[in-house]
Every structure is written in C-alpha cells, then in structure tokens.
Amino acid sequence: MKGAGAIEVTGLRKVFHQTGTGEAVVALERLDFRVEQGEMIAIVGQTGCGKSTFLNLLIGLDRPTEGRIAVGGRAPYDDFDHFRGILAAVFQQDRLLPWRTAIDNVRLPLELLGRQPDEQLGRARAWLERLGLGRFERAYPHELSGGMRQRVALARAFVIEPTLLLADEAFGHLDEVTAAALRQTFVELARTEGTTAVLVTHQLEEAIDMGGRVLVFGRPGRLLADIDVRAWPATAVAALRADIQRMLQDNTGDPRLPRPAKERA
C-alpha cells in the first residue's frame, strides 16, 4: 500500500507529570518532520533527549500531549488495532518470552494475527534459517547468547513483514562485532522488504553507519538537525561526525548541517 508506512510528525509535544510533586517534565518539544514510505532513519541523541518517548508514541503505547503523530495517516495510539500486522518493534533487551523456544517466540506475532499453525511454523522457521538460527529453533532464550537472542527478536519482528519497523537501542548492548553484523542484517532486511525503518540509538557511529537519514535530537526532545548521510561525500563523513558530536555537546542546532537534507528535498 503506497504511503502506508509514511510517518508524519506535526507539532508533537509530550509532557509528563512527576508522581508526587506533579511537576511537568517536557520530554518532546514541538517536533515536525516526515519520513517517507520505505525510508530508513536513525534518531540519535543523548540519554534523556526523548528518543524512547518518541518511539513509544510511534508504537502507540503512549498518547501525545499536543500535536500529531501519524503512520499512513492514522494515529498509532487512537487507531491502536489498525496497526495489527503493520508495525513491529525490536527493543534494547531482546524481550523474548522465556518460556517459549526460539521458534515459538518467532511465531508469536503470527499467532496473535490468527494465522494457521502450519503457516506460523513455516514462516518462523524460514526467518530463523535466514538469520542463521535454523539449528536452534528448539532452544529456550536462556540457552542462547545475547547476539542469538537479538537475532530471534529480529526474526520475530520481520516475520509479519511489517510496513513499519522500529528498533530501540536494539544493538547497543551487544559487543561491537555482533552489533555491526546485526545492524547490517537489519538494514539489508529492511531494504529488501521495503520496510520503513526507524532506528533509535545514542551511538553516533551506529546512526551514521545505517547510511540513511539521521535525525539529531537535543534536550528537551527537540530536533537539532535532519541530515541525509547519503548526500554527504564519503570523505566528509568524518567531519560530519565531529560536527554532530559538537552539536550534541552544545545541545544547539548547526545551520550548516541540515542543508544536504533540504537540497535532497
């Protein structure tokens, strides 16, 4: 479906009230941007800049205080059930159900969608094979290494062939080699499947390595820059990295950086 995975963020604001004191804490401050269907973006920012809050709003676990967030024209919180089989997420911890084997974890979303058991098993097995875990389909999560568990979580997300795929610090806790390999798998799979992908990370390297668009979040939850890494020549990427780093440290936007993204638009 054309545009089904396009994300529109308009004047998005999220305010939390502290328990006890009732004091208002602004987590997101008037965000405005658009992500096209099939596009891949990385959201980078320091801890506490509202990345995870944004992701929760995108998943539909929380409601915006002001403004609107829409995927394919529908609000994930208000039209919660509409996103059945459309949206999938991979989280920082694998969040596998410990009482289910690898294959049973992967088939879980298909069970929720009411697919036939044969189809569930066939598709779950195919995805485990694709991610190199064919031999471990009967293993329980505690019998697998961190990298293997995260691959199972990836298979669980991809098995429903989602239109929108979200990853929240999904590779940050793994060792560098495993994280890089999984990141590459994530990018390749998202591209092959034509999925709109949003990767939230606090690691600048990870955001740039995705090779797509990078949204730089500052505190409190505001957009400092919207950069298309592909528009930057390979020789300038090191300078770009340094500029984003400085931007994150100063928590201010840099008028030079959004330029390539605007030119692309």
Binding site: I59, L61, L87, R95, W99, L112, R135, Y140, H142, M148
Partner: protein
Amino acid sequence: MKKDEAIASETVEALEARMPFRFPREMVVGLLVLAAAWQVLSLFVPPFIVPGWERIFKSLVTLRMDFVLVTLARVVAALVVSFALGLGLAVLMYSSTPIERYGRPLVRLLMAVPVVCWILFAVLWFRWVEFRIAFVLVVVCAPVFLVDILDAMRGVSRDLRDMLRSFRPTRAQLFTKLVLPATLPAMLTSWKINLSLAIRVVTIAELVGAVTGIGYGLVVAQELFSVAEVFAWTLILVVLLFVAEAVLTRVEERVLRWRV
C-alpha cells in the same frame, strides 16, 4: 564450533544434566541421624513419652490406611477448589481495579482469622462433616492462591507487556500468551505452600466431628492413650507431605524447564 553454538550446546547439556532424579543424600542422612537419636532417647525415657521405633512400627501396621486415602482425597479436592476459586478471583481483581480495591481488604481479613476460629465457625454453621472440612480448607487456602497469583500477575514485566502490545494483541491474547504463562511459577510455588498448609489444617479439621481420616485416627489414639500410634500417624503425615512436595517439585521441573 562457533562461539554462539558452543554456548547454546553447553547450556542444553547443563539443563539436561539437571533433569534426572538426584538422590537426596543430605536429607536422608539427616533423617537417619534424627531417627537414631530418637531411638537412643527412647532407651532412657518411658515409652508413653518417647516410644521406640519398634513400638511405632508395630502401631504403624495396625493403622487404617484407608484413612490416609480419605485425608489425601479431602486435601486434593479442597486444593483444586481453592485453586480454581483463587485463580478466578485473581483474574477478576486483575481485570478490574475497583474490584481489587474493595476485594483486597476482605481477603486480608480472611487471612487474619486463625484456623481454629474457622473450625469453630464450620461446626456452628454446617451440619455435614465433609462440608465443614472442605469449608475450613478452602477458606484457608483459597486466599493464599488468590494473593500469590494476583501479585504475580501484577508483577509481569512491563517490558514484556510493551513488547506484546506492540503487536496489538486482544485482551484475551495478552492474558493467555503473557500474563498466564508468566504467572505459572508463582502458581506452582503457591501449590507447594498450600499443600503443606492443607495437610496441617485438614488434620485439625478432622479432629472435630469426622469419623474417618488421619485427624480422627489421632483422636482415637489420644483417647486410647497410645503415644506410639500418635507418632505413627505423625510419621505418615510427614511422609505424605514429603511425597506430595517431591511430586510437585518434579512437576515444577518439567513445566518450568525453560527457567535458568
């Protein structure tokens, strides 16, 4: 073999190694030492206070074993009813905050009432002996099941809840795919606690009005002033509890084999 594969195969072997029956050497040695000390003590103390093992075993063979089955049946039936009731009420309280708010204090009240009081209420309220015993057992065990299960349901990881919600389950799916299996370990622990509780409570309940069961057997032994018989019944109760706990532990190992 790759590192990942090595980790997986090692842990599978470790898991399998844990599964076969392991002889409880420490427990057996401890019990034998206690039995020996008992026998030595019986040589220095009159048999109407501490009877020797020979006297206890002589009494043991004369006991009515059908009483053991009767008591066991009462315990199992009451536990099944208590579990169903506890689970049902836990689900109800879990799905409705107002019901939980009003229900929790009542459950606490029930749990605060001593067993002896429940037995007296049962005698005063009900005529049928079996109903009296069942009432006491259920009123004592059901709240324990309820509180344990409800707490476990409330304690289900928010991370797992959010993960599942991202796939848009129905309420029933959220419950059956996440909440119920996540609560299973607490349910089994609650069964163990209640089993031990029920075996102790049923004996006291049978003391009042029953004409069958271990409790009745104890009353008869006391009336005959047969200390050896009292010890024999006690021995049977302890063995019954040990066997029942061992069975539950095996069930737990099977059902919760996914645990680290």
